[in-house]
């Protein structure tokens, strides 16, 4: 038996230092999270009250700054419409890529450009909708909620498509083949076998895209803008939480900044709920 040579002191020291550095860097990465959550809770909860959620922003220079009702409602409306547009189209494209396109030239090109769309900064989408729909006065007005939704949908589309493609690819081919062998036409195979099997994964991707869209400010500034009043009319300018926060930060007034913290806490909680549901759905999925 040969004796094991003990580690030299230098190697041991290097190892210790390197491991401590990695652990310290991990700790450092968590510092901003702790600070942001702490400030959000401290300042945000201070701004919360019942009237904060039941009043619209007042816009008055003195007195009460009002609440954020119109901003919450606007975010929900615009994100809902964007989801209704982006999710069917995104999943449709993913279905094409997985079920028909495969490795064909055309499918490769589509995949490539969906990738390109993923990298486009959200403000460029906002500007695109601004010059094509807002300046052109489509729908008889300039700024409108539905135009904000279109900008958000452009942002969501590649996220939904990419995640749906991954999930649809995970559906075992034996399931498709079994259904086809039983004489089912392709559309029934997709509607009754492929989509239901992939459903939890599709929902996860959708929810993550919704969470991403809910926090976006840049595409909404030029398209839905910031207003005070609450509206259900998607063809009118519409308020939203991120845009409201952005506007309030720009005003150097304590009560508006306080409103911004309250709105920020509300927005982060909404997004956290969405991402948590997405994770739970993912965990229950049979695929992957």
């Amino acid at each position: 038996m040969t004796m094991l040579v003990p580690l030299s002191a230098r190697r041991r020291r290097t190892d210790r230092i390197a491991r401590a550095t990695l652990a310290a860097a991990t700790g450092l990465a968590l510092v901003p999270l702790a600070l942001i959550l702490y400030y959000l809770l401290k300042k945000g909860l201070g701004a919360w009250s019942v009237s904060f959620f039941t009043e619209d922003p007042s816009g008055r220079f003195f007195g009460s700054a009002g609440g954020i009702r119109s901003a919450i409602l606007g975010t929900v409306e615009m994100v809902a419409l964007a989801t209704a547009v982006a999710v069917p189209v995104g999943i449709g494209i993913a279905l094409y890529l997985v079920e028909y396109g495969g490795g064909s030239r055309f499918a490769q090109v589509v995949r490539y450009f969906v990738d390109v769309m993923t990298g486009v900064p959200s403000i460029v989408f906002g500007l695109f909708v601004y010059i094509t729909l807002v300046l052109a006065g489509t729908g008889g007005g300039s700024f409108a909620g539905w135009k904000g939704s279109i900008a958000l949908a452009l942002l969501m589309l590649p996220i939904v498509t990419r995640s749906a493609e991954v999930v649809l690819n995970l559906v075992p081919n034996s399931l498709r083949e079994a259904a086809l062998a039983l004489g089912a036409p392709r559309w029934r195979v997709m509607a009754r076998v492929v989509l239901p099997t992939a459903l939890p994964g599709l929902m996860t991707g959708t929810l993550l895209a919704v969470a991403r869209a809910a926090g976006e400010t840049a595409p909404l500034l030029f398209t839905a803008t910031v207003v005070q009043g609450m509206t259900l009319n998607l063809n009118a300018p519409m308020n939203s939480l991120p845009a409201q926060i952005f506007k309030d930060v720009g005003q150097a007034q304590d009560r508006l900044v306080q409103r911004a913290w309250g709105a920020a806490l509300t927005l982060v909680l909404m997004i956290l709920v969405l991402t948590t549901i997405a994770r739970l759905v993912q965990r229950r999925s049979r695929l992957a």
């Binding site: 990465a29 990298g119 601004y130 926090g215 956290l272």
Partner: protein, 322 residues
């Protein structure tokens, strides 16, 4: 009996062949989905052409190269040369990479290689929580917390380490550095997540071989894990860079919005994305200003496109090795 089950029951056709009418839904679906996919291509083509078309007056008046490489963005004189914005975008992104990537890679290494298994999930979750915070909230926090709290430290740094390049002189509140720091925090989750995925593909045999040869944990990381995942980490950093370049609202709030090229990292500046967010309102009535902003968006788009293509190349190469 068996033969009867597969031969035609009428009209001399095999039952394996469907009547034309029942094949219709299949055809419609196929063409519908193909049309959707083609629609995306058309949309992107229109997107690019429309941006180019609307930016054209600015390029025609100032010249493409002069627009990008000359230093004079003066709204009141209606002169638009975007170099200060391009430089601002690059400086903030480089600061973000310099701070964000080492921390993100270290976090990924710690989570995959060193930390006790029961902490792995919670740590991953916490890093990913950073991705759930919206841009505008980072801006809000950066402006009201980072800017005032870091100012003394920045001033000390500036006074005592003035021999370093791009350091020294008075410290502005909002600055390139603050914007870069916020961006570093924002790209941390994605760079860390992709690095983690890449490190997970390092074959266990490589690790075990290194350890069996008597390597310490760190030597194992340096000799087995890092060389194997280098391309993937480079790809992750490029994706982070793409994010940093295009990030708008957080940067707009903390960069100070001065359309000049600062002399040091604690100076105020401007970025391509921030200028679009701030000036589109006043630009609505001045056609050349509007064209200049759209041209800025086009430059931004091309920058992110190049960076993302590079990222794709590296990530693919990393996967191929893996």
């Amino acid at each position: 009996m068996e033969a009867g089950a597969v031969t035609a029951t009428g009209g001399g056709r095999s039952i394996l062949e469907r009547p034309p009418l029942s094949r219709l839904p299949d055809r419609l679906l196929r063409w519908g989905l193909t049309a959707l996919a083609a629609g995306v291509l058309a949309l992107i083509a229109y997107f690019f052409l429309r941006l180019y078309n609307d930016a054209h007056p600015a390029f025609a008046r100032f010249g493409v190269l002069d627009f990008v490489f000359r230093n004079n963005w003066d709204v009141s004189q209606e002169v638009f040369h975007a170099l200060p914005l391009v430089v601002g975008t690059l400086i903030t992104s480089v600061i973000a990479l310099a701070i964000g990537v080492p921390v993100a890679v270290a976090t990924a290494l710690y989570v995959t290689e060193l930390c006790p298994p029961r902490f792995r999930g919670p740590l991953t979750l916490m890093v990913e929580l950073l991705a759930a915070v919206p841009s505008v909230v980072y801006g809000l926090w950066g402006f009201f917390f980072l800017v005032p709290k870091l100012r003394p430290a920045e001033q000390w740094f500036s006074d005592n380490l003035g021999f370093l390049p791009f350091v020294g002189g008075p410290v502005a509140g909002p600055s390139y550095f603050i914007a870069g720091l916020i961006l570093a925090i924002m790209i941390l989750p994605i760079v860390s997540a992709i690095s983690r995925e890449v490190m997970a593909t390092v074959p266990a045999e490589h690790r075990e071989a290194a350890l069996a040869l008597g390597a310490t944990r760190w030597e194992m990381i340096r000799m087995a894990v890092l060389p194997y995942s280098r391309a993937g980490i480079a790809g992750a950093a490029m994706l982070g860079l793409g994010r940093a370049i295009g990030e708008t609202i957080a940067v707009t709030i903390v960069i100070g919005n001065a359309p000049t090229i600062g002399h040091q990292i604690f100076d105020q500046g401007y970025t391509l994305a921030a200028v679009i967010a701030n000036e589109f309102g006043e630009a609505a009535s001045v056609p050349i200003h509007r064209a200049a902003l759209i041209a800025a968006a086009l430059v931004l788009f091309v920058l992110t496109l190049v960076v993302n293509l590079a990222a794709r190349y590296f990530v693919r190469r990393g996967e191929r090795i893996g």
